[in-house]
Symmetry: C2
Subunit: 419 residues, 2 copies
Amino acid sequence: MGSVEEKIKVGGLVGGATTTLLEEMKLLKEMQNHSGARKAINSELWHACAGPLVSLPQMGSLVCYFPQGHSEQVAVSTKRSATSQIPNYPNLPSQLMCRVHNVTLHADKETDEIYAQMSLQPVNPEKDIFPIPDFGLKPSKHPSEFFCKTLTASDTSTHGGFSVPRRAAEKLFPQLDYSMQPPTQELVVRDLHDNTWTFRHIYRGQPKRHLLTTGWSLFVGAKRLRAGDSVLFIRDEKSQLLVGVRRANRQQTTLPSSVLSADSMHIGVLAAAAHAAANRSPFTIFYNPRACPSEFVIPLVKFRKSVYGTQISVGMRFGMMFETEESGKRRYMGTIVGISDLDPLRWPGSKWRNLQVEWDESGCSDKQNRVSSWEIETPESLFIFPSLTSSLKRPLSSGFLGAETEWGNLIKRPLRPGP
Amino acid sequence: MGSVEEKIKVGGLVGGATTTLLEEMKLLKEMQNHSGARKAINSELWHACAGPLVSLPQMGSLVCYFPQGHSEQVAVSTKRSATSQIPNYPNLPSQLMCRVHNVTLHADKETDEIYAQMSLQPVNPEKDIFPIPDFGLKPSKHPSEFFCKTLTASDTSTHGGFSVPRRAAEKLFPQLDYSMQPPTQELVVRDLHDNTWTFRHIYRGQPKRHLLTTGWSLFVGAKRLRAGDSVLFIRDEKSQLLVGVRRANRQQTTLPSSVLSADSMHIGVLAAAAHAAANRSPFTIFYNPRACPSEFVIPLVKFRKSVYGTQISVGMRFGMMFETEESGKRRYMGTIVGISDLDPLRWPGSKWRNLQVEWDESGCSDKQNRVSSWEIETPESLFIFPSLTSSLKRPLSSGFLGAETEWGNLIKRPLRPGP
DNA sequence: CTGTGGGCTACGGGCCGACAA
DNA sequence: TTGTCGGCCCGTAGCCCACAG
């Protein structure tokens, strides 16, 4: 902890910014007073809700901030992309190197939608980068003991309770006293807001199965869950039982706010970054992992490796991780078919989504046909930085080997495989 | 209609803006596609929900836009006022003369919170003001046949229905057939989103009273009404029965959005206005009458009269209208105790809340101790522009006379009346 | 192994007049 | 005039198993 603070201080001095540690502290205190942050949110539960692919940068580390990506998040939230009414900020670069001052986890009181608040301070790329500490890539801790189930019509109807998958119940819940007739216990679990929920856990029926009955419908009602939404249980490091929810994608989490027009939001994002860049002063952003198409705050190390570590060319094969329905990871393969600016007018030369790609499988129409180099794995990056590729949990060896052989195949594969 | 369009066009040309009518139309169409605006919102119901003091500027009219006021609205919505991290916009004046291009009414799908979206285009004050048409002050139509009731615990409990005040039922609802035992009818009413609700209206009990029974609890549940919230019924110009809701103030309507940090929102407001001012290009704002402390888009005529029409000085007595609990109007009296800048650093010389005031009555601690000149009535303004002062509905003559005599008294009254 | 549906029961939603403020 | 309560009834939330995918 002490070292992190030191880094911040040093970073501030080297960067030539006027920010003092005292101001840091004031800022920090102010953030903690921000509504809804009274109790610290459980990090493991937050990450379980965020999904296996989301990792946040570390406090004190260096990152690249991409205004375009931030604008994309605004576009998704407001369902309105940037229009011509939005001014150009010629002095705002397409990528802004920043020091991460603060990262706090949040969850919407109404919807339980998770998001992170970060305070970033632009640094001078020429003076301030030599000692890049290698944190910033250390993955955030994802809970190992968890399960995630997509709710069925029966789970959410008023007719009954929640059917717990057998493995989940046996792995996560306290062991039942099977001598009881029927075996029963009371589960007390906490959610992101530290509310407690009590569920009656019973093992009954023919054939026998695990069910949550009494208390379940209250939970469904309070969280407004529908069939298709997901519920997840985890056991944190203190082996406390916690519960989280994930809405189906169809439910737009955030309605277009009646506070600010979409245009003003886009302008706010860009103007805030431009002002911060000009003054090297800190600015505050929100990151909504589940709404956002792509991360737009990238650890500098990761960014550097992808840009300088690999020669990317048209025709190159690549892999990219996506989340599965059951909150696992799966690699999809594709081919790079072009390298060009996403927005040549506003952001010439930007590395944001400058790779045009085609996916091997049909049914990938939901996937972006433009990606950024740090999102993908190439044969080279796999070879040079194997740590980047995979940290699958359960089928660790088989999964990893599977990936390897897959890579082996694809390298030998022709450029455009026929049907 | 034709004349309004013409005004827009002329305004655009005289202002030297590059905006063409074609672009206007595109903009307009785009706005209509804005989510949630498929069906036009009933204007009378919207105004009934907004309250008797809210009036919107007319399309095509000239207004003064106050960035400070807009920022106040953001501050209330996010519960965070502008911080030192927000840049100064030296080229953005504290008041911006604009042409109103478009005004659309909206209501939040979730909360029914009403708001208006306006498109404003800055105009050149020196070239573009000579013929100020006198629309812009014409008050928006508030329904004359309406009633508003604050819900009691019984109204919202699951135990029973809604107790309709006698006068309301007799004035608004279709007459009951009192030969029935008991007299009963089915009411079909529409809300802001054009959803229909059916209530069983019955006249029963000992003593007899009007009740809404079947269907009421669905409404309460769907709108998530609590004791203390208000419900209002109106009969519009087509004598259709409509229903609206107003949340109690305690319920913060808009939670701090997880889309944009409060700082970025403040910046977005200011940067959008600054950019529009520099280019004389249109910009879009939202106005939330019930959240916003004061209107920040003021008809130019009203602004001019208040600033140039009246000499305001320290010690002067004034009156100001406020909304009563039952959605009526009431005048509160006070004394001007100072004239000074609200924010001498950012907005020197601004007319926004530059009057410091003291209220006669105790229990006005909820009221601002700073107001703007166009919000108040002074003896002079009363004399010169009587149309500004009062348009009370029911007790028109008596109310107006009452106001007159009150003014008569206070003019003679000493500067600081003793207890 | 787990999703859905039929059967059954009991709790509470919701209609009524009695009071009293 | 209208807010709250006790009384009562019946609709449905919610527990159980059977059955099938």
